[in-house]
């Protein structure tokens, strides 16, 4: 059991969720409420990581913030180390490829709020911020939570992109998914089996939580 790898995976997932939570709420809300020109394009872009093969994604990420890219060089200048092959690079990649998981369920959650209820909130004197806190989030939270749970689980399981962008550096970028791959190649089936079982357990817990949350969406709205 590679505890470092598991810890790394959990940290990666936790950071991704922490950063994507406000994005999920704000972008999900924007897409749910507003109609604007180019909205279809924005939604398609958000969905892109779902359909693109991870390797295509990994390739573009490498091009975008590899050593020779503007982003990579800026990072090198600021922090003296590479963005690729680092934990921070993984977080950046993770944020990008989790966008559909973070945004879409939240968007559905906000869409489920009847327009009249939001208008009633405004007519009750609630500023948009107060309305978000007192009315919209309480009604949309199952959607937002689903988004966060899915993001967390998806990050734990991500393999191809992590390998391409992060390599397999123990303690930095060797996540548990990669550790399993590594152990299989080392003919260490026992470790691979243990770690796989842990991931399966986490996945099942995720599914159960998501299902429970989905049932709450309906009930919340009466």
């Amino acid at each position: 059991m590679d505890w470092t790898a598991l810890g790394l995976s959990l940290r990666l997932a936790a950071w991704t969720v922490a950063i994507l939570l406000p994005v999920s709420i704000l972008v999900g809300r924007l897409l749910a409420y507003r109609r604007f020109r180019g909205k279809g394009l924005v939604e398609a872009l958000v969905m892109l990581p779902l359909v693109l093969p991870p390797t295509v994604f990994g390739f573009y990420l490498l091009v975008s913030f590899g050593r020779d890219s503007p982003v990579g060089q800026l990072w090198q200048g600021l922090f003296g180390s590479q963005l690729v092959f680092s934990f921070e690079g993984l977080v950046l990649a993770s944020i990008v490829f989790n966008l559909p998981f973070a945004i879409q369920p939240a968007q559905r959650g906000f869409e489920a709020i009847p327009v009249e209820v939001r208008e009633a909130a405004a007519c009750c004197g609630m500023s948009p911020l107060r309305s978000l806190w007192k009315v919209e989030l309480p009604l949309a939270w199952p959607g937002v939570m689903t988004a966060m749970v899915l993001t967390f689980a998806h990050t734990l399981g991500e393999f191809g992109i992590v390998l391409m962008v992060g390599g397999s550096i123990p303690g930095e970028t060797k996540t548990i998914a990669i550790a399993i791959y590594d152990r299989v190649q080392a003919f260490d089936d026992r470790s691979a089996a243990t770690m796989s079982a842990v991931l399966v357990a986490i996945s099942l817990a995720t599914i159960a939580t998501t299902l429970w949350l989905s049932s709450r969406i309906g009930r919340r709205l009466g």
Binding site: I169, G171, F187
Partner: protein, 261 residues
Amino acid sequence: MASTRRLLLAAALWAVSGLWAPVAARADVPVVAAASDLQFAIEEIAAAFAAETGQQVRLSLGSTGNFARQIREGAPFEIFMAADEAFIADLHAEGFTRDAGDLYAIGRLVIIAPHGGALAPDAELEALAALLAEGQIRRFAIANPEHAPYGMRAREALMARGLWEALQPALVLGENVSQAAQFALSGNAEGGIVAWSLALAPQVAARGHHALIPETWHTPLRQRMALLQGAGPVAEAFYAYLQAPAAREILARYGFTIPAE
């Protein structure tokens, strides 16, 4: 309803607290990029190093070609142990290594097959040729010749033996020689050509038997290592240790010939 909210808040706080979990101290524990044929040997050497000096290294195993690419992209390795000296020479020319490095071992190829399988490994690859002729070889694994030295040598050997063309439809390419061995012994293939150092490991020997392939059938596997730019004192210590008698003894046990150079 309020209690559910509290529960979720607690879970969120717990998850967030993980953000500050201590990371393995990067500076003092250098990462060694080692070619996959060193899978078992290098783990033993690293353990011996830790036992003797109290210092740790982190190991990353994979194909030589892949590591060379990553090093060019700025991967934070401090030592690179390649399975083919050409890769070290190229990196040195581009300024990624401190110096031209050192030859640390000569590797050998073996043909390997699962115990009780149709293929019985022999040095001349007679059994392989025979089974091929009968159409009995469905899958045969080697490392990817594009970027794995052991794969390149496997291709040379098969060409020398005149079996390369016939084997094409059945070839399965491992990303590195470890994965090739994994494929070869998985039960889904008749066998493969992999590193001797892997075949000698107990975990592997338990799953399959092997036979050495003549050295003359391929260019030598001159395995070279080098310290990379920015390598620290622990890396230097480990690098020295790799050339010390203790390490060499371990390498010899895994079938490596220590060069006289």
